[in-house]
Symmetry: C2
Subunit: 276 residues, 2 copies
């Protein structure tokens, strides 16, 4: 999916919500445990209920890998289900990969050839040749970690270098030479508030993937105030606050309602910014 | 496996070689493609041929994930095969993971509970709470990326901060407070030569996992000169130069011979340093 299509989806559906499919066998409703593939059964219902209110899905690989082979099967089935039934949804493999060139190339093959995924999150620590193998696929995206939502983001990402630049700023400035805003996005945590202003100085036109609203406590209003650009330029993720809003047989309906509430807040923000 | 056991294995077997199981279906001998599980068939023969000459195996997850579900099955079978047949081998899941706390905890569950793996490589960019979930398992290890072997290591890892400290040095100094040398190691590329001296100033007693000899061109002699400590403190990895040394039906025998050659060089280095 290219940048224009993604922006059109946001305007048409009046939402920039991404639903994070952090599906944990220990947290899904009990009645699903009788299903042949409980993880996929859960995802399928969540997807059907939330699809009208979001433009992206982000399965986090950790949750699937923790189930071993069964988890991988559920992951693949989930990706294929979205692709077949909701072709306008942008799929993000939240994998935070990054390795030496020939290894990153293997990961790229997995996500972009074996599976029809739109984008993968990548960690920047190993530098250019760990990222570029993901960039050789037309219409596919790297989403590079810049300033994450967790407390540990302070340990290294805010380190000020000898020229007065913080590490996350150097990551943005350096990596935007590797690719343009048609195949690179950045992860910026919703918990980072006014830091979005500094980020927009370096990458005004790039899409930002923003985790951290909901369970992690970030504010959607702050993210929009400081991070939105003239085409929105935001994909805001919520995982736990939507998918685990209810633990009964009613879980999917309630998840849909929660997603709808977020969509309505996003519609207001898009109107306020005169994007729709 | 604890530090003392690992050191004893090194002294007893006179080697600190780790064989990297970067098994690529496109690179294995053709006759194996008729096997039910060609990746596992390859690994099994490589392991049987090289086990006398190494103390560790490092499957790189990218190579398995690129095969989807089949790849995960091959990965699990490989880990279980090593565990059952060569219990003195240290198993490294080269995964370069690292995510927010609850997600890192899922990865830890995968590698340390679902599978009986000794250690996992982790990327430091997201800081303390992305690493600590891996540290709560007795006898299990985090191997944190410090200074990697690839060209891109220069992009961010060598960035000098306002106090004159390079990022990889800050990673070492900061992270060694999170755990001691009984459950933390560091990745330092063999291509980094004299930088090992600077690293040993900060972490004199930690084990270092050293990729980059063989196909990547690093020198074993340099690594030993600048990086070895009084208990060796090194696990040096070779992947492609050993496992793909021969592409005929003779591949395992030749891989064993290559591993034996490296073991002999390592024995010399251990004697030179009066460790054995």
């Amino acid at each position: 999916m290219n940048k224009q299509q993604l922006t059109e989806n946001i305007k048409r559906k009046k939402t920039f919500l991404c639903v994070g499919l952090d599906t944990d066998i220990k947290k899904i409703p009990e009645h699903l445990l009788n299903e042949e593939d409980p993880i996929f059964a859960f995802n399928k219902e969540i997807i059907d209920a939330t699809a009208p209110y979001c433009i992206a899905y982000k399965p986090n690989l950790a949750f699937y890998e923790s189930m071993g082979v069964k988890g991988w099967i559920a992951f693949e089935k989930t990706v294929n289900y979205i692709r077949e039934n909701y072709p306008d949804q942008f799929i993000i493999a939240d994998a935070k990969r990054g390795d030496i060139g020939n290894t990153s190339a293997m990961y790229a093959r997995t996500f972009f050839e074996e599976l029809d995924i739109d984008s993968v999150t990548v960690a920047p620590y190993m530098g250019e040749d760990s990222v570029t193998p993901f960039l050789s696929y037309e219409g596919k995206w790297v989403i590079l970690l810049a300033l994450t939502s967790n407390k540990g983001s302070h340990d290294f990402q805010l380190t000020v270098d000898e020229h007065g630049e913080r590490l996350f700023e150097k990551v943005l400035r350096t990596s935007k030479k590797w690719a343009d805003d048609n195949n690179m996005m950045y992860v910026v945590g919703a918990t980072q508030g006014k830091m979005f202003t500094d980020i927009r100085k370096i990458v005004p036109d790039h899409f930002l993937l923003v985790p951290g609203i909901g369970a992690q406590g970030g504010s959607l209003a702050d993210v929009c105030q400081y991070g939105m650009n003239k085409n929105c330029g935001l994909i805001v993720n919520s995982s736990r606050a939507i998918i685990y809003a209810d633990k009964t047989e009613n879980f999917a309906k309630v998840a849909g309602e929660e997603a709808h509430k977020v969509q309505q807040q996003m519609e207001e923000e898009l109107k306020k910014a005169e994007i729709i």
